[in-house]
Amino acid sequence: MPVQPLDARSLWRSCDPEQFDFATTAQLEDIQEVVGQERATDAVRFGMGIRKPGFHIFALGPEEADMQRVVRRFLEERAAGEPVPPDICYVDNFEESHRPTALILPAGKGSELAQDVNRVLEELRAGLEAAFESEEYQARRRGIEEEAGEEHEQALSELSDKAKAQGLALMRTPVGFAFAPVRDGDVLSSEELSQLSEEATEALQARIERLEEELQQVLHQIPRRQREVRDRVRELNREVAEFAVRDLLDELRSKYERFPAVLQHLDRVQRHMVENVRQLVRPEPQVPPEMAALMEGAGRAPDLRRYRVNVLVDHAESATAPVVHEENPTHPNLIGRVEYQPLLGALVTDFTMLKPGALHRANGGYLLLDARQVLLQPFAWEGLKRVLSSGELRTESPRDALGLVSTVSLEPEPVPLNVKVVLLGDRLLYYLLSELEPDVPRLFKVAADFADEMDRTLEGEQLYARLIATLASQDELRPLDRDAVARVIERSARLAGDAEKLSVHTRGVLDLLREADYWAGEEEAATISAGHVQTAIDQWTYRSDRIRERTQEEILRETIYIDTDGSVVGQVNGLSVLTIGGFSFGRPSRITARIQLGSGKVLDIEREVELSGPIHSKGVLILAGFLGGRYARESPLSLAASLVFEQSYSGVEGDSASSTELYALLSAIAEVPLAQGMAVTGSVNQHGAVQPIGGVNEKIEGFFDICAARGLTGEQGVIIPASNVKHLMLEARVRDAVAEGKFHVWPVRTIDEGMEILTGLPMGEADASGTYPEGSVNRLVVDRLAALAEVRREFAGEAGAEGGGGPENNDD
């Protein structure tokens, strides 16, 4: 019994607006759960709950599924019930300044400590100056200095007196001390000296030499005494400074007594302040004033910044655990960075120039990252892996790690890391990564796989209506009436390419709602109606439609040859789908087959010139399997066939044309003409069963539009695999034509069914002897093959006679 075409009702599954008990979506409450993503949301929930190393989450799915919004909402809900993590601060490690010390303090305490320290530092200089200017200090210091000075003066004074008694004077020259013979307060001139007797001169010389020896002894004492004075003054300074500093810091000590790390730091601060009190009280720059001014500008003057607290992460204002989404996950934005300042041509840094990364900010909470972005940024992926593997956050710049720049840098003390990372990426990326990157299965053990579609049941449609309502209200769009909701649901099924499924690509749905809202706004309507939704769809199609229109135009102008009536041997209309910029449309292609005498080889011209993909080639090879299995079980196939996609200048991929090629081939062998008013799609297996294909709706519409443009004859239609019927969501224009009997859609299960529709002839069943009935297509094929085999045998015989038993079977 020949296959009956589908009736119009089978081409479309409408959504009944009457099933909804609301007038507009304004009456619906927002839904909190994520529609149609139970598997993914369960995975995210599990991933967030499990606090074990390596259980980070990789959310995979199509971009349109809006994973980021979903995951983020989940994370925020969970974070709301979790404690606020501690603040992260860095302070100077006074022993090794290039390794700043991390201080982890309860939330809010970090900035508090920083403020307290700043206040102390403000008071410090004044406090120290007061201590060092006090009368007591001055008196003690002067006492020490004068004591030494007096000793020294005393010794010189005694020597001077002794000299005076011997008629000599101890004099200070511009660069030293000297003894001079004097008379009446004036030094003897050389004439006066020469008048002295030899003995007197010698005696004078001897006296001077004795005194000079004593002078030398006195002078030798000076450095030692000066050193002693310095030591004693230093000791005094320490004592005074310690008193002043301790007084200031004790206040902080009692406030932060519960935090041993702070106390330890305060002890170090105190020690350092006491040891460096001279710079603190009177910052005496070791450089010229102009240079000091420059250094001040660069923040490098010997000042108090070493004692400050650099609060990297301040949770003073936080109420929940952090959820951070880093949209630009560069290495420094993730791991943190060390900034530098130019100073007199060199780059310098210190712990105050440490800046936090997203991992610092997300520590104790959740970090959301786009996997592709992380992979695109140099060093970011390696940095993230290292941190997640080690469980501690170590801020270092890749520049330092690679040793590209040698300048003073920092090695901050690592901070313990407790963060849950969620990577968002498409499926292909995830599968590639888990295959090629061993660290992905190790670190991202939880895969949250977001679905593309959900089941279109009655409950599903109700839920979907609420999803539409939620999206509209969250985006502050006009409410939709129930007809509009039904239209959106139908559109969603069409987007899913399946009458029994709904697309859960919420971003696509939201875009449709926004566009419909725009058109409603143009008409100043209070609600979005089905008409607005349809306008949005039509307008979107119209905007994307240029290439489809051009293709159709070329067919109609017969630049591209597609027949839509008559019948031709070895020629059939195939259908393909093109997707450009998110817009898909169907396009008919002419496929032809020719046969000649040969050894059973089916030559696919597309494959020969490498214009076909492997799946297409596979489809063609299956054809040979089918032919051999059905018609050449007992004798070899003695034909050679060639198949071609006419006027195809780019590649062909997919096996959805394999049934089409088989029809052309059978037609060519049997020399039976095929109706040209029909187009065919479907793949075929070796047994001749027609298998489902994708894009069935676009394909049917593509052929329909050509036929409609040329005028529908009532004979035209499309043959599709029966298993694709459930996917049909055809546009109204096709449904209307089918309802009027002007166009047909035939569902077929086998090649035989399709061949009967195309030729109008029966295929014919083999009887017990394996003979097909007269007039059937199969009989025509068998007869033609037998004739070809006969010709071949004759040809081989002649060749053998001529060649004297030569290699006549070479091409078998």
Binding site: M171, F177, D186, L188
Partner: protein, 265 residues
Amino acid sequence: MVALDASRSSLAALEAAADLAVALQAELSGLFVEDENLVRLAGLPLAREFDPISARPRSMSTSELRRHIAAQARRAQQALSERAERHKVTWSFRTVRGHVTRELRAAASAADLLVLGSRGRSPGCAVGSTARALLHELPILLLLAPAAGPRRGAVDVIFDGTEVGERALVLASDLALLRDLPLRVLLVPDGAPERLRDHAEAALGEHGRLAAYEELDPQRLQNTPARLRARGCGLLVASRAALLALGDEAAPWVSDLHCPLLVVD
């Protein structure tokens, strides 16, 4: 007139002198004395000097000494010009050769006030020999500046009721007014302190009421420097007679002062 030898003490004297020159709108005149005795010493065959740092002997030569002295004079002149220009006072500078005290005394006769560092260059004396000599005999006002340099603080004056004391009192009051500083009168009573205070107030006139008065025990005058130090004295004015009354104590007394001392005759 300020005596300069480029030592720390003389630079402090220069500061004090510049301060006063501003207050009094006077000219600053620097004098550098090339010490004849040193030149003579360098000319002696047996002359050698000892380096204070290494304590090693070094033979002296006149040419080298002259070079050093010339360098000192240059430094002194530079210091003078810098300070004078900073304070915007007119200045002059000259160098003379001879015996330091004699040359200063001679030069001072042409000046209103001689300023010099109280500490000497020669070793062994807390108050330089020059300062000591001039303290005793210079006929004009003498300002002795301590090595520490001037500090801002009140003007103190020792008043003993004598005629010179009265002059010192008026001068101190004028200086305090000019520099907008408080005036403190230290009374050294001979008999009734009340009368001495009335005397001082009368001598000061209008300004007298603003001054603070304090009584000094004549037996314990040697403690005065410590007291002045403790409460921040910027300048002490005293008559020569009052200082000389201290006898041998005068020199250490002056060296104990940490503020400039203006001696009035």
